[in-house]
């Protein structure tokens, strides 16, 4: 941390950006000084990445971007302009990282070299880091595909520089309302991005999400909808955390023929007839796999695919469908054969912290990244499906990434988890808040351990977990990274940037 803090990167970059003349600097990549500045920025960024790794600060997934942007605020635009590459941007509340992982595997199988911002580092610095680490000093990327997951918050700043060829929206759930203001103003931001895309671009939308499907109907870009057309696994009633259960057109409550995750499903408005659009990429059959995950059949314009999604849960079926839809928009050097696609997706491992199974000495840890009611409920249900008592470590911190407002914890169905709980440890800078939520969900405060320090909490939680039973960790982004770092130092997990 000390090195990061001493560098005046943020202050300098901010000052440069506030100046109204900054586009002039950003948009003259031909000039010799601009070229030198870019080279300097890229060199500085690359050096920062090396330093960060050597000094053990982490993978350097966002720090290099900060440094490079400090040297040259127009670095992202120049890199994409200097390279002849296609770009795919994935945004939405949930499933960005997993969708990108699957999409990268598919693009790779199709013969495209991919540069992406991995590790969920999806704020602006992370995006720039990804681009600059793959580029040479003249700003040219050797890869043919720039695949970026981008946080809704920075979307409108990154898109004008990027001009993505394919823009994927996974879903919109309530997600850190204190950062985004209201749900609909965030939706409007995404909508204006879609409206700004040229006719040559393709926008890939979740047709099962009533809000996402309604985005920018008059936009020039080609539209493609993905979703699930198999009615068996869903139920009829959206769960509590459902966000968009009223018709976007007329506010009348929607009726669902099937609900698969939260408010995602086959909906129709009985009042105005607004209904789920025809799906271009449709999952038509879902079977639980003999191994982890699901066996699915997907119909696409490029043919029918039979796939094994090695990641558990219906939300990952959506992620696979989103990725496959995105892949069909790419001109792949080798057309994607069903068998290649199957092999590619089969090899995808969970993104770090997404219900990751970890051997912790003689114990077993399941590490889950939870950030909103939907991701929490979905992951919790996966955990509840497994037999045996549950040992829980729940950690949340208030940071820029995790937000300040944890009221959403009250929308999580923790009442289902508490009766099956054998032990509970809460942690993070908002440990008191988490403890309060669990108390009102029925947990006994007398047996609850409240340990704000993440490493100490992990030790205490493991000490209270018998070796035959797993410890389930539900954590926000920052505490999840911290807990994983502790486990990495103990040699239990590989560093996340090596995944």
């Amino acid at each position: 941390m000390p090195l990061l803090d001493r560098l005046p990167t943020k202050a300098r970059a901010s000052a440069a950006d506030r100046a109204p003349a900054s586009p002039v600097r950003g948009k003259s990549p031909q000039g010799a000084s601009a070229q030198a500045r870019l080279a300097l920025a890229l060199a500085a960024g690359k050096a920062a990445s090396k330093t960060s790794k050597v000094l053990g600060f982490g993978g350097g997934t966002s720090f290099p971007g900060r440094v490079a942007r400090w040297v040259d605020p127009g670095v992202l635009q120049k890199v994409t302009a200097a390279s002849d590459l296609r770009s795919v941007v994935v945004t939405g509340s949930n499933g960005k990282t997993t969708t990108c992982r699957i999409l990268a595997a598919l693009a790779d199988a199709g013969g495209l070299e991919v540069v992406q911002n991995r590790s969920g580092s999806n704020l602006l610095q992370g995006v720039i880091s990804a681009a600059l680490l793959g580029a040479d000093l003249r700003g040219r990327l050797e890869a043919q595909l720039l695949l970026l997951e981008i946080d809704e918050l920075v979307l409108s700043k990154v898109i004008p520089d990027l001009q993505p060829d394919t823009f994927v929206v996974t879903n919109i759930f309530r997600d850190q309302l204190d950062r985004f203001g209201e749900l609909y103003s965030m939706a409007r931001d995404i909508e204006s991005v879609i409206e700004g895309l040229p006719a040559s671009a393709t926008v890939v939308l979740n047709g099962d999400d009533p809000l996402v499907a309604s985005f920018a109907p008059a936009a020039r870009a080609k539209r493609m909808y993905f979703g699930i057309r198999d009615d068996r696994p869903g139920s009829q009633l959206p769960e509590h955390a459902a966000d968009t259960i009223r018709c976007v057109q007329c506010q009348h409550p929607l009726t669902y023929r099937a609900v698969h995750v939260s408010h995602l499903g086959d909906y129709e408005c009985p009042e105005c007839g607004n209904a789920r659009p025809a799906l271009d990429v449709a999952v038509t059959a879902i079977q639980p796999s003999q191994r982890t995950g699901s066996e699915i059949t997907v119909e696409t314009p490029a043919g029918t695919f039979s796939l094994h999604v090695p990641l558990a849960g219906m939300h990952n079926v959506y992620n696979a469908a989103a990725a496959l839809a995105g892949a069909t928009t790419l001109e792949l050097p080798q057309p994607l054969e069903p068998s290649d696609a199957r092999r590619a997706i089969d090899g995808v491992r969970p993104a770090f912290g997404r219900l990751e199974e970890i051997r912790a000495g003689d114990r077993r840890v399941m590490l889950a990244f939870v950030k909103n009611p939907t991701s929490y409920n979905t992951t919790m249900r996966e955990v509840l499906r497994q037999p045996g008592r549950k040992h829980i470590l729940a950690a949340h911190s208030n940071t820029v990434v995790d937000g300040e407002d944890f009221a959403w914890l009250w929308d999580v169905e923790l009442e289902q988890l508490v009766p099956q709980m054998a032990s509970l440890t809460v942690s993070g800078t908002r440990a008191e808040e988490v403890a309060l939520r669990f108390k009102y969900a029925g947990a006994d405060p007398a047996t609850m351990q409240v340990i704000p320090d993440r490493a100490a909490a992990l030790d205490m939680a493991l000490a209270g977990t018998p070796s035959a039973e797993p410890l389930c960790v539900f954590a926000g982004y920052t505490p999840m990274r911290e807990l994983r770092n502790v486990m990495q130092h103990r040699g239990w997990v590989p560093p996340f940037w090596k995944e």
């Binding site: 203001g181 911190s397 108390k439 969900a441």
Partner: protein
């Protein structure tokens, strides 16, 4: 007591107005009844359903976004008369954010038509350009000689101004409250308690939850004594932490400079944006704990150079 007491909760728009964890207020009321062996019932009433407000002891009306609020306002027309009667008969009402605005005269957003409320509270709301998002600390004195602190999280663009016949729920210590200018937060009328505070507000301010329960029980059962005390350690820890966040958030460089000069001059702190002098936390049960910073709690706020919104200026 002649009959076992029952608290009848009427939960309005459980699906429509439910975006920021506000259902935690319901959980708080129910759990605090259950822990004391008090029976309760819950009646939910969504769009198109008019509950028997005369039978309700406590009515909950929560927050929602503009779109949902518009739908609720349209539906409130049918509920307005019986709800107004119940309020005039001292039914207890907790209204949060959009629910607060729905009980007032109107809410006029920056863009779009004004949304009419039922006008029980003498207050109106105009949209503002900058959204108020952040932790809030409020000091309340609901009955003479009693002072309590209220901690919560606000997220609203409306600026609410109180008329003559509504009094504020409390005074802002840190944060914005009703409008960020006059230092007021929320509104009170008879047994209506309206606030902008999410969090949700009742679990981490159990005194307010108990106040609502006590008033509801006293109204229906004249011989009902004081509520049995509960072990509220977890609640007060969460409240203290939230109050501390509200304080730290208020301490930008300007208030840091003010703090230094205060220290030098040994003067008490002024309160809120209006600069009004305030007798800080006197008599408050948690007041003296608020400034204590637990060294074992790494406070990330202090390490963060800037909040997310300004970290990447356009």
């Amino acid at each position: 007591m002649a009959q076992a007491p029952v608290v009848r909760v009427c939960y309005l728009y459980p699906r429509l107005l439910s975006v920021a964890g506000d259902r935690g207020n319901l959980f708080a009321l129910l759990q605090r009844c259950a822990w004391r062996g008090i029976e309760y019932t819950v009646t939910e009433a969504d769009v198109g359903e008019v509950p028997d407000f005369a039978q309700a002891d406590i009515v909950l009306l929560h927050g929602g976004q503009d779109r949902e609020m518009t739908a609720a306002a349209r539906d409130m027309a049918a509920k307005a008369a019986p709800l107004r009667d119940a309020i005039e008969n001292d039914a207890v009402v907790l209204a949060v954010c959009a629910g607060y605005q729905l009980l007032s005269h109107y809410y006029a957003p920056v863009s779009g038509p004004a949304i009419q409320g039922i006008g029980v509270l003498d207050a109106f709301t105009e949209g503002g350009q900058k959204r108020f998002i952040g932790h809030v600390a409020v000091e309340c004195s609901l009955s003479p000689g009693q002072r309590h602190q209220l901690a919560g999280f606000e997220n609203h663009s409306g600026r609410t101004w109180l008329g003559k016949s509504a009094e504020p729920l409390g005074r802002v210590i840190a944060g914005n409250g009703n409008n960020g200018e006059d230092g007021t937060e929320g509104a009170r009328y008879r047994e209506v308690y309206a606030t902008y505070l999410h969090g949700p507000v009742l679990p981490k301010n159990p005194w307010l939850a108990d106040h609502l329960l006590a008033r509801a029980l006293a109204r229906r059962y004249q011989d009902f004594g004081p509520l049995a005390p509960l072990p509220d350690h977890t609640e007060s820890q969460a409240q203290v932490a939230a109050l501390r966040l509200a304080r730290h958030q208020a301490s930008g460089w300007r208030s840091a400079a003010a703090a230094i000069s205060r220290f030098a001059l040994q003067r008490p702190a002024p309160v809120s944006a209006s600069g009004r002098q305030y007798d800080e936390m006197a008599g408050s049960p948690v007041g003296d704990k608020v400034d204590e910073v637990d060294p074992s709690v790494p406070d990330q706020r202090l390490e963060m150079p800037e909040p997310a919104t300004s970290a990447e200026p356009r």
